[in-house]
């Protein structure tokens, strides 16, 4: 498709990953990826092809075996542990297949949590902003419910708001609709597209859903440890 003009928020060059277990498992053989600000990219590939592996590396949850990874212009291999934590806090947001909300907290508390982790407490305005987002995604009535009393779709929508809490530049979504029925999945996807367009956040979404994948700006496929563009 069209190469969007704008700042590169993700750039990898020759990214390789081999898991060092009893038997070394090579997964990624040299990925070159460029994502610009506000872009919505979907990644497809067979199970075990390394999609989650790639996303974890892009989100600084894991480290590459080889190659360059620049997130928002910063080479992440130069960052300390705390530097990586700041990156995860301020630059990237994560949405996983499972919602991964904390059972001990309510929906609203979960969504505000990244702000509190970043700076100790949230201001009134910040809480109101999160509150507004939750209302927008249809959770106005669930604010003080605990995740285990909410539906899968509701939890996933809450998780998306949490990923947006610190106004990141990038949201990495690993099969965010994987656990949802097609209707809720569609809703969650539309929500992500809207946010991407409105706030100007780049989305990288891994999905098995062909239809959703095709609704993105760009589709990439991982095959045999390498990345290629579709269409």
């Amino acid at each position: 498709m069209i190469a969007l003009p704008g700042k590169l928020v993700i750039e990898t060059v020759g990214l390789k990953k081999t898991y060092q277990g009893k038997l070394p498992t090579p997964v990624l053989f040299g990925i070159d990826l460029r994502v610009v600000a506000g872009e919505f990219v979907s990644i497809i590939g067979q199970s075990g092809s390394g999609k989650s592996t790639l996303l974890n590396i892009l989100g600084a949850l894991d480290v590459p075996s080889e190659g360059l990874v620049k997130i928002d212009g910063v080479d992440i291999s130069t960052l300390t542990d705390d530097g990586l934590a700041v990156l995860r806090s301020e630059v990237v947001g994560f949405v996983f297949q499972a919602h991964f909300l904390l059972e001990e907290l309510t929906c609203l508390e979960n969504a505000v949590l990244p702000i509190i982790i970043r700076k100790g407490s949230a201001t009134q305005e910040e809480v109101e902003w999160i509150h507004g987002l939750l209302v927008r995604v249809g959770l106005g009535g669930q604010l003080h419910k605990s995740p285990d009393t909410m539906s899968g779709g509701e939890n996933q929508r809450c998780a998306i708001v949490r990923a947006l809490a610190n106004r990141p530049r990038i949201v990495l979504a690993d099969e965010p609709t994987g656990n949802l029925d097609s209707h809720s999945g569609e809703e969650v996807f539309q929500l992500m597209r809207q946010m991407s367009a409105e706030i100007g956040i780049a989305f990288v979404m891994v999905t098995h859903d062909e239809r959703l994948a095709h609704a993105a700006d760009r589709i990439l496929m991982i095959e045999d440890g390498l990345m290629r563009s579709i269409e």
Partner: protein
Amino acid sequence: MTITTFLPRQIRFEGQLAWRHLRSGGGQTWLTIAAVASGVIIVIFIMGLIFGLQRKFTALLTDAIPHVTVQVPEGKPIPYADLPGSRPGPTSSRSEMQAPQRKNIDDWRTVLSIADTIPNVRTVSPAVAGQGFASKGANPVGVSLTGADPAQQELITPVTRNLIAGHYIGLAADEVVIDYELAKDLNVGVGDRIRITSISGIPEPPRIAGIYSKGQGRGSAYVTLRTGQSMLGIGNSVNVVYVKVYDIYGADAVAERLAVLLDCEAKSWSSEFPNFVTSLQAQAASAYLISGFTLIASSFAIASVLIVSVQRKAKQIGILKSIGARKNQILLVFLLEGLGIAVAGSVMGAIAGIAVVYLLSLPKQAVTRVGGVPESLFPLMLDPLYILAAMGAATLATLLAALLPARSAAKMNPVDAMR
């Protein structure tokens, strides 16, 4: 308002999460709190028992003896060769200078006023002490003589409460109080006159004013200070000053002070009973050892529960890291959790420990002496100092136990944790 309102803003989130962990931990939280509390209870009990027993034994031992005895140092025999003016070179002589007599304390009033300035000193009694013979008719019997003001001496070596007959307080110049053994040997009773002689003094024929029994061994014959001075022939001086202190374990320090201030020999009761003091120290050491092992054991229990709890929270730790939590924040969450357990456990342990010690001190011993006050079966002692020390040590042990799991939580790899 929650408990975390009191935390500084920067760590309120960590405190809140730790608090929620503790609350959601339920039975496990109570288990760890109970482990800390039992540690504290055992420490308070052991300390209370050992130090209570020590205090009782020490009181029994030192109740009826002087705590510090001040005397002028005894001169040592000087070999002839070391005498000033003796001819140099080898001598065949084994002759020695005669040992000087134990000197008297002439300015004993100064001694009293100096002793009174030492804080721990409770009471002081100037006295004369020496050996003599008591006789009634035929065979003389050896006797220790103590001449002192009865009211003062009573506070040092109580006589009145051991009296079988007669009186001690208000002793007249021509009266003596002797012990039961001596009265039996001389076959005399209250009101009889006996004869007392010493090497240096004037023989006196005092009347027996009272007879006492210590229950074991022979005791002194007590006369007034003036009579004693004349019997032993030492004029207006005394040859010993007895001191009683408030804090029995501070007697050594008082003796040292006196020795320095007065340039004389001051012996504390503990130097008379070195074995007793050593056994006290050994007991204290074993109390500390038992306490230490107890706290170590309970911190192992706490550590193992916390390690399991951290492993169960692996997923949560991964989530927190994925949304930006720093290592130190995770570390702090689990340390605060440990702190919560430590504080709750040591406060509850202290309350329970005090209750246990109090309840155990209730049963009383049967009274063995007429007019005696019933004593506790367990002479337990509660000292705020070691209760606080037990709480502090337990808190420290718990925090150390929490450190290991907290560090492993902080180091956890977020991807592994969430898998």
